[in-house]
Amino acid sequence: MTGQTAGVRQAPAMIELEDITKVYRMGSVAVHALKGVSLRVGAGEFVAIMGASGSGKTTLMNIIGCLDLPTTGRYILDGVDVRRLNDNQLAAIRNLKIGFVFQSFNLIPRSTAVHNVEMPLIYAGVNSNRRQLAMAALEAVGLADRARHQPTELSGGQQQRCAIARALVTEPAILLADEPTGNLDSESSGEIMKLLVQLNSEGRTIVLITHENDIARFAKRIVRLRDGLVVSDAPQQRAEVSA
């Protein structure tokens, strides 16, 4: 279970999960979604979390993304103990430290691409150079020429790139991608993964949740979950970006 490379071990920890459990109550039945997960992700890593449905990977992502709190265990994100935070502080963490990329893009309809990218800055209270920051983020994902288009006027790949720009615009500590290519054709999938690899090579920490080996092979490290427990955690040779 401890197969991290020496280089990564020495990097400052972005995510430290210690013996995380999560129990849902569904009526009178208690569902143990996570049964004690410990995980450490260093800065600059590119981790793929894999597992079949029901393995607890979505629950883990929700906890890493501060959308949900663990039942027991400790979660330290970029030096902050998340369990001690109230709703507003969690919102601020999601806003500033985490960039979400969803399977279904989750852009806000009827808002232009650039306005979608601006959204996290609005909630962060950035006023002065918001438009420039948003345009820069769109530029970084190669979507600057589509800034004025609404989500419905963009292809799936373009929508996902817009979503990545939105995730990046607040310069978060980690990029959390939940099946980012799940709704895309293989060509767009390749483009998106290439973009993620490129962002990682620029130093971004990326946590990718997927059940596809094809996608996971772009990551530097693969964590496999089964029945709420980590069953394997190993580095891997990254696939060729050009593949």
């Binding site: 989750n106 009827r110 209270g125």
Partner: protein, 415 residues
């Protein structure tokens, strides 16, 4: 999040469902317009009644005899015959009542009048030549009868415009020097009063005034010198109360009554009449406003309904916003502003429509002038607008709170 951003979000949210937003706005629009219009109608009635009361004359006080009692049975208001010419003379005495400019006796009588093949009924009274001045009538043609007419009980009459319309076809000059028969007694028309123009309650142009001596002699069958009211005039609005008190004192002395509560007459100033009329029209306005207010509440429920639908529809969007860092208060503010924007927009349109319709009604004078022209009251406009925004806030709180309380994971999962 800045207010501007929230406002922009609200506008784009509403813009996405234009028809629905427009219908919701319509609900508030109708409510606000109804409040403004109905309050304006009540207000207009009040203004009209006040004008009519003011039109009775300036700074005047009416004195009526108290109810006559025959064997302990009241004969009704003003049925006593306790006022006399001596009372009038005493009231006109400057040493006794320095604040009374003029006191005139009025003796009301039946007024069936005939000219050739036309007949008409008008309020006919006997009075003195001061009647025109005290009661604020101008003489349009001819002249008021004179003091010598009064002393000689001359059979002359000054008539109002409505009488001219009905007996002489409308031209005051053709009526002059014609002889009409009042109660079968021939009276010569010496003057015509200018129209007071007031319509509706109590036509003040349908009158005929004869010298009171002539009325006593010819129209009342010589049954004593009956005075049905005395009208006194004070020099200024401020002096009305003093004049009223002086008149009371003079008459108490005249009638040798020590205890004012046993007085055999009653006095009523224009202000007294105005006060009771204002009270009644105030109630009328309040009732009309309250009825219209119901539609405003219904409009508010419409807003709440549509906001609940909007929140449900946009559950996923709320989840996205929360995932990218929106706080509870951000979401709350967004939806509150949206509902308040709906209601405020409806309020502004309602003000435009309400005042517009009121003004139109005021100029159109529907139903041949019997309808009092609405007068828009500024406080009612401000109140209606304030209430509409308040309604947006009140009925927006529940849906907005529901949106803000959504759990981000469940909201994101919502299809």
């Amino acid at each position: 999040m800045k207010l501007i951003e929230a406002l922009a979000l609200a506008v784009s949210g509403l813009n996405a469902n234009r028809l629905r937003s427009a219908l919701t706005v319509l609900g508030i629009l109708i409510g606000v317009a109804a409040v403004i219009l109905l309050v304006a109608v009540g207000n207009g009635t009040s203004v009209q009644i006040q004008n009519q009361i003011q039109g009775l004359g300036s700074n005047i006080v009416y004195i009526y005899p108290s109810n006559a009692k025959v064997g302990g049975v009241s004969q009704g208001f003003g049925s006593g015959q306790t006022l006399t010419q001596a009372d009038v003379d005493a009231l006109n005495d400057k040493t006794q009542a320095p604040d009374i400019v003029t006191a005139i006796p009025v003796s009301q009588t039946a007024g069936i009048m005939v000219y050739q093949n036309q007949n008409w009924f008008a309020q006919t009274s006997g009075s003195t030549q001061d009647f025109a001045e005290v009661r604020n009538y101008d003489v349009a043609a001819g002249a008021m009868f004179t003091d010598s007419d009064l002393r000689s009980a001359a059979k002359v009459v000054v008539i109002g415009q409505t009488v001219v319309d009905n007996l002489f076809g409308g031209d005051p000059n053709t009526a002059l020097d014609k002889t009409i028969k009042i109660q079968r007694q021939p009276f010569r028309v010496v003057g015509v009063f200018a129209s007071k123009g007031s319509q509706g309650l109590g036509n003040q142009d349908n009158i005929a005034i004869v010298p009171i001596t002539a009325a006593w002699s010819y129209l009342q069958g010589g049954r004593g010198k009956n005075i049905s009211q005395i009208v006194i005039q004070a020099p200024s609005p401020d002096a009305v109360k003093t004049a009223q008190d002086e008149a009371t004192q003079v008459l108490l002395n005249q009638h040798k009554i020590g205890d004012p509560s046993l007085a055999d007459f009653t006095t009523q100033s224009q202000q007294d009449i105005l006060n009771s009329a204002t009270q009644i029209t105030g109630i009328l306005t309040a009732v009309l406003g309250a009825i219209a207010g119901i539609s405003l509440v219904v409009g508010g429920i419409g807003i709440m309904n549509i906001m609940l639908v909007t929140v449900t529809e946009r559950t996923r969007e709320i989840g996205i916003r929360k995932a990218i860092g929106a706080r509870r208060s951000d979401i709350l503010l967004q939806f509150l502003i949206e509902s308040m924007f709906l209601s405020a927009f409806g309020g502004v349109l309602g003000i435009i429509v309400g005042t517009g319709v009121s003004d139109w009604l005021a100029t159109a004078r529907i139903a041949s002038g019997q309808f009092p022209p609405p007068v828009v009251s500024i406080p009612s406009v401000l109140l209606a607008f304030g209430v509409s925004v308040g309604i947006g806030l009140f009925f927006g709180i529940y849906p907005a709170n529901r949106a803000a309380g959504l759990h981000p994971i469940e909201a994101l999962r919502y299809e």
